[in-house]
């Protein structure tokens, strides 16, 4: 594949790369906030991917944008909820380290 013109594959690879960065963050971060940041990257890359895919396969169709709207709303809700959990947790625990939050260990 060549660099130009930018096509579906370029967009998909870009989003995949962003997603993989998010994934890397998700697996390495020890602080709950860091995890949240990584997840935001992943959600965002997914939204971009949907929009790009629809736009390039079916220009002018609005479904991609509408899905992205829902993505954004969901991401906002998720962040709010995560912070709602995180803030009291951070208050009651000495640290926000997720590796210490293993109360559900079998």
């Amino acid at each position: 594949m060549s660099f130009f013109p930018v096509g579906i594959q370029h967009w998909l690879l870009l989003c995949l790369a962003l997603f993989s960065f998010g994934l890397y963050g998700l697996l390495t971060r020890r602080s709950a906030m860091g995890l949240l940041l990584a997840i935001e990257i992943m959600v965002n890359s997914a939204a971009v991917l949907v929009v790009a895919l629809i736009h390039l396969l079916h220009p002018g169709k609005l479904d991609g944008q509408l899905s992205a709207l829902f993505f954004i709303a969901l991401a906002a809700a998720e962040v709010v909820l995560a912070l709602g959990i995180y803030v009291p947790l951070a208050r009651s625990r000495p640290s926000g380290d997720v590796t210490q939050l293993n109360d559900l260990r079998g």
Partner: protein, 671 residues
């Protein structure tokens, strides 16, 4: 007639007593159920009378059946075997089914009469003997169960019914030997009897299975050829005794040097030897005397122990066709009768002497059957004749001993003495029994013993004849010994001084049995039971046999009189020193019990049971434990995955997703 021709009953044409013969075993069964389930829980006092009544009904019915049978087929003519009351019981496969029913032929009728008569008289006697026993109800219930099982065994038309009843007999014998279950010796004796006979029954079962298998495989061919009558089943005695069946089996290739007919019959003989307490499986019978004395009289003298003899007699045509098992039987019988007679001379417990005497006489019967052949079947008649007469005088001896024990409260003959005057009726009947078993004319034992000796001599078995003659001298000796010690002389203990005659309910059976012991021998048995009517069937006294036998008996009696009349301690001690260590060996019953014990402890426990136990503990339990340990270990290792670490879960999820994608991609093999 070469073998018993078997004929199936055409129902409806036979007299009622033969048609309804199935009632004979079922009446005691009804007594057992009624007594055990209704009367005993209600604690009704007339339970013994009810139990005896059921047996009396069986006795009357079987006497009527005998009359009807020999009315139809007079003595001296051919006697067919009838089967009545047959029902299909176990249809296993097409062509393999087992029925229940009653087999009527002279042999089963003979046993029927013996069992019913002795059982009834023992019931009667027990009413007096067990009057004060708290377990009386249980005793009579078991006695009825035993009578039912024994009658079912005697009337069995096929091997399977015989086997079932055989085991039932063993079970009721177990229950009755262990009747005084608070006595450890009785408990261990009952276990010993059960285990030893069970061990022997293994042979019976194997023999049964092989014969039934042979019958099952050969029956279609035989029926197609028209060689056997229709309607036979695989394990029917009618088939197993049929010459065509023998021919077909003998045509098969032999196995380990034995024909396929001999092998199962030898196995059956093992079962028979266990039940009839033949050497070396005899060890349970002397211990079985722990049961109540009437039980010893009924089960361990007159009826159950002759089941083995009956089995051989029942299958005699098959045994005669195979020959080898008969030779083994003759050897076993001769060995046992000599061996047990020698031991009987040394024992002091009156019941043990009688037990060894029973062993000896059973050996006599088996010996008689063993010397008979297809072309010379006198031994068959003689063995059953002796079974018949022995049942009466031996149960009489036991019942008399029971009366004495009841009076003296001891089994030791040296604690008795002088009972002649104190128990006159018991004394008379006991004396009759002693003379009968000694074989003095004209009492019962004389005739049957004569027949056996004649069968052995005419069959050309000179060694066996010699042994039998020796036993004919030993038997009077030990019987006279216990008679003289127990009844003669003066009382040797306090309780013997205070002994008094038993109540009438006990003495009446004694006198009845004494009468039978006198008369039973007068029956021309060969006319009733004989496989070769044409050959030497005349009844009478054969002087060449009777004279030596009587001389031997008199010799034995004289020796006993010389040693045991009055105070002859010096003579006995002289004789004992003459015997030296051999006397001790005899007194200890040739250490057979100890040898078995050694065998059981060292060989079976250590050689077989211990490895099996080890296998069970390590391999079987080990496998179970290993499964448990494995699942726990697996669970423990899986809990490591359940780490509570968010990112661990995320990693697994991701890896799983990728594995799924890869797997699906490969599976769909796609583009």
């Amino acid at each position: 007639m070469t073998a018993a021709p078997e004929m199936l009953a055409q129902s409806g044409r036979l007299p009622f007593a033969l048609e309804a013969l199935w009632l004979v075993p079922l009446l005691p069964l009804a007594g057992f159920l009624l007594g055990g389930l209704v009367l005993r829980p209600l604690k009704l006092r007339w339970l013994p009378q009810v139990a005896a009544g059921f047996v009396l009904a069986s006795l009357l019915l079987s006497l009527a059946a005998v009359k009807a049978f020999f009315g139809l087929f007079p003595p001296g003519s051919e006697h067919p075997a009838l089967v009545t009351g047959a029902i299909d019981w176990l249809p296993v496969l097409p062509g393999l089914s087992f029925g229940l029913g009653t087999l009527i032929d002279p042999v089963s009728l003979l046993l029927l009469v013996v069992v019913c008569t002795v059982s009834f008289l023992v019931h009667l006697y027990s009413i007096g003997y067990m009057a004060d026993d708290p377990g009386k109800a249980r005793y009579f219930v078991f006695l009825n169960l035993f009578t039912f099982s024994m009658l079912g065994l005697v009337l069995a038309p096929n091997l399977l019914q015989l086997f079932v009843c055989w085991e039932l007999v063993g079970a009721s014998s177990f229950l009755l030997i262990g009747f005084y279950f608070d006595k450890p010796s009785a408990v261990s004796a009952s276990k010993k009897a059960f285990i030893v006979t069970r061990f022997a029954d293994l042979g019976l079962l194997l023999g049964l299975l092989s014969l039934a298998w042979l019958g099952f495989r050969l029956l279609p061919g035989l029926q197609a050829a028209g060689a056997v009558p229709p309607g036979l089943e695989a394990a029917d005695f009618a088939l197993l005794n049929h010459p065509a069946f023998h021919e077909a089996v003998l045509a098969l290739p032999p196995f380990v040097g034995l024909s396929l007919l001999s092998l199962p019959l030898l196995l059956l003989l093992m079962g028979a030897a266990g039940k009839s307490a033949m050497f070396p499986l005899h060890i349970w019978l002397p211990d079985a005397m722990e049961g109540p004395t009437p039980v010893s009289a009924l089960i361990h003298a007159a009826t159950m122990v002759v089941a083995g003899i009956y089995l051989v007699a029942r299958l005699f045509p098959a045994f005669a066709a195979a020959v080898t098992p008969l030779e083994v039987a003759a050897f076993l019988g001769a060995l046992t009768c000599l061996f047990a007679a020698v031991i009987a001379c040394s024992q002091d417990d009156i019941k043990r002497v009688l037990a060894f005497s029973t062993l000896s006489q059973l050996g006599y019967m088996l010996l008689a059957l063993g010397v008979a052949r297809a072309d010379h079947a006198l031994g068959h008649t003689a063995g059953l004749f002796h079974l018949f007469t022995h049942a009466f005088f031996k149960s009489l001896l036991f019942l008399g001993a029971g009366a004495v024990i009841h009076a003296v409260h001891s089994n030791d003959i040296w604690r008795m003495g002088g009972l002649r005057k104190k128990m006159p009726l018991t004394h008379i009947s006991f004396l009759v029994a002693v003379l009968a078993i000694a074989g003095l004319p004209p009492l019962a034992g004389f005739f049957s013993k004569d027949e056996i000796l004649r069968a052995a001599l005419e069959g050309g078995h000179t060694t066996v004849y010699g042994i039998a003659l020796a036993v004919a001298a030993l038997t009077p000796f030990y019987m006279a010994r216990i008679y003289l010690v127990a009844f003669g002389g003066t009382a040797r203990s306090e309780s013997a001084k205070q002994a008094h005659e038993a109540p009438a309910i006990m003495t009446i059976p004694l006198l009845l049995l004494a009468l039978l012991s006198v008369c039973a021998g007068w029956l021309p048995m060969a006319e009733y039971i004989g496989l070769d009517h044409g050959h030497a069937a005349h009844h009478g006294i054969h002087w060449n046999i009777a004279l030596p036998a009587t001389a031997a008996a008199l010799l034995g009696l004289a020796l006993a009189g010389w040693l045991y009349t009055g105070d002859r301690r010096a003579r006995r001690e002289a004789l004992a020193s003459l015997l030296g260590p051999l006397g001790g060996v005899i007194r200890n019953k040739f250490y057979i019990d100890e040898i078995w014990l050694f065998f059981a402890r060292r060989v079976i426990f250590r050689g077989i049971s211990a490895p099996i136990a080890w296998f069970d503990r390590t391999v079987v339990d080990g496998a179970v434990n290993a499964v448990g340990w494995l699942s726990r270990a697996l669970g423990a290792s899986l809990t490591l995955l359940q780490s509570g670490q968010l990112q661990g879960y995320a990693s697994w999820m991701l890896a799983g997703t990728m594995a799924l994608v890869l797997g699906l991609g490969m599976l769909l093999g796609g583009n």
